[in-house]
Amino acid sequence: MNEELAILNNYLVVGAVLFGIGIVGFLSRRNMIVMFLSAEIMLQGVSLSLVAWSRFHNDFGGQVFVVFIIAVAACEAAITLALVVALFQRRGSLDVAAWQTLREANQPPLLEPVLPEETPAVERLPRLPTAGVQPDVGREPSGHRKNL
């Protein structure tokens, strides 16, 4: 087995797995931010494949391509976050189903499934022991700052 061929094969498989996981997340999650994270996972898989090809062919073209992927991802993140903030201010929710009026005319609406009521866990805050000097609350608070 050619050693470089083995490395190429392994990296391409891992890149494909990352891409597939990103597809699953993008298709199934409803939170807009998590959908965008899934798209970024897909980009990571593609970057890994390009790095592997770059090594296999002894050519810097693949790595230059990954530099541009990172630049475009930064642009994409800026635009997406601006859009998500705007959409969130309109509807008060990050759920994409809040925008289902934009669907095709012949598609049925999404019916929200009935979920069992969830009781939030009781928050247990730590209790601090009383220690130190009792603060003097009776004094005039601004008395020691004459310049204000």
Binding site: M1, N2, E4, L5, I7, N9, Y11, L12, V13, V14, V17, G20, I21, I23, V24, G25, L27, S28, R30, N31, I33, V34, L37, E40, I41, Q44, S47, L48, V51, A52, S54, R55, F56, H57, N58, D59, F60, Q63, V64, V66, V67, F68, I70, V72, A73, A77, I79, L81, A82, V84, V85, A86, F88, R90, R91, S93, L94, D95, P113, L115
Partner: protein, 251 residues
């Protein structure tokens, strides 16, 4: 004629589909542990079919980093709380950066960590804090079409692996071999000691116009993001009324 590795890839794909579906949020926590077990089995089967480079240290390092990247990506996709998703995504980025470093792309490994984990992920966390980071919203508790989505993604991975495995097997056994550069050429090229200088040479020599275009794109994205964020609110920071009614009229 079905080879052994093809059967193993098929079994791993089937296990992966079921495991991924069970791991996605479905309104309750039932079956999630089983999904994790099935997903781990599919991952182990898949990784066992990778090719060995020949040195156990290189192989072990690659397997550990690949497992970190893949498991963290699965966590980022399947966790219910969006904040946990972002944290798992950051860990997945670290795994991918390690893989790039092992492959010899030092600059890209550092750039991935700095740009993604340092800038993009932190901005994401800011926005996530806007709304229900505990994941109690119904939209976080249930996913769209879980089985179909899991099947679509994992079956695609299985097909890609099968095609790739066939390609590598043929390239390994048959008379036809891909023409690869010699190790000496590679050590003087992509794997050279002055890697960053070589990459900069390629970037600012042959791809100079593309670099300028990318800079213009960044500037345009900056202006566009500021414009979008300003258009959404009026001067007092309140959301502007929509030009068309937002109400659910089409049912």
């Amino acid at each position: 004629m079905v080879a052994d590795w093809q059967k193993i890839v098929a079994v791993a794909t089937a296990l992966g589909v079921i495991g991924m579906w069970l791991m996605l949020p479905r309104g309750g926590a039932r079956g999630r542990a089983l999904g994790v077990v099935l997903g781990a089995a599919a991952l182990g089967l898949g990784l066992s079919q990778l090719r060995s480079v020949g040195q156990w240290a290189t192989d072990g390092l690659f397997l550990v980093l690949a497992a970190i990247a893949i498991v963290s990506a699965a966590g980022a996709v399947t966790f219910r709380k969006p904040v946990y998703c972002a944290i798992w995504f950051g860990q997945s980025l670290l795994g991918v950066a390690g893989l790039m470093l092992v492959a010899g792309a030092q600059f890209l490994a550092v750039a991935t960590v700095v740009v993604y984990a340092g800038a993009i992920l932190v901005t994401f966390l800011f926005v996530l804090m806007l709304a229900q980071p505990q994941g109690r919203a119904p939209s976080d508790r249930v996913s769209f079409e879980g089985p179909v989505a899991a099947a679509a993604g994992v079956v695609m991975v299985g097909l890609l692996s099968a095609v790739l495995g066939g390609f590598v097997t043929r390239a390994d056994t048959a008379a036809w071999r891909p023409t690869t550069p010699s190790p000496e050429a590679r050590a003087g090229g992509v794997l050279a000691a002055e890697h960053v200088a070589r990459l900069g040479d390629a970037l600012f020599g042959r791809h100079l116009v593309a670099v300028e275009v990318a800079g213009t794109l960044l500037l345009a994205a900056l202006v566009g993001a500021a414009a979008i964020a300003r258009l959404a609110t009026d001067r007092n920071g309140r959301p502007r009324p929509a030009a068309v009614s937002d109400d659910e009229t089409v049912v």
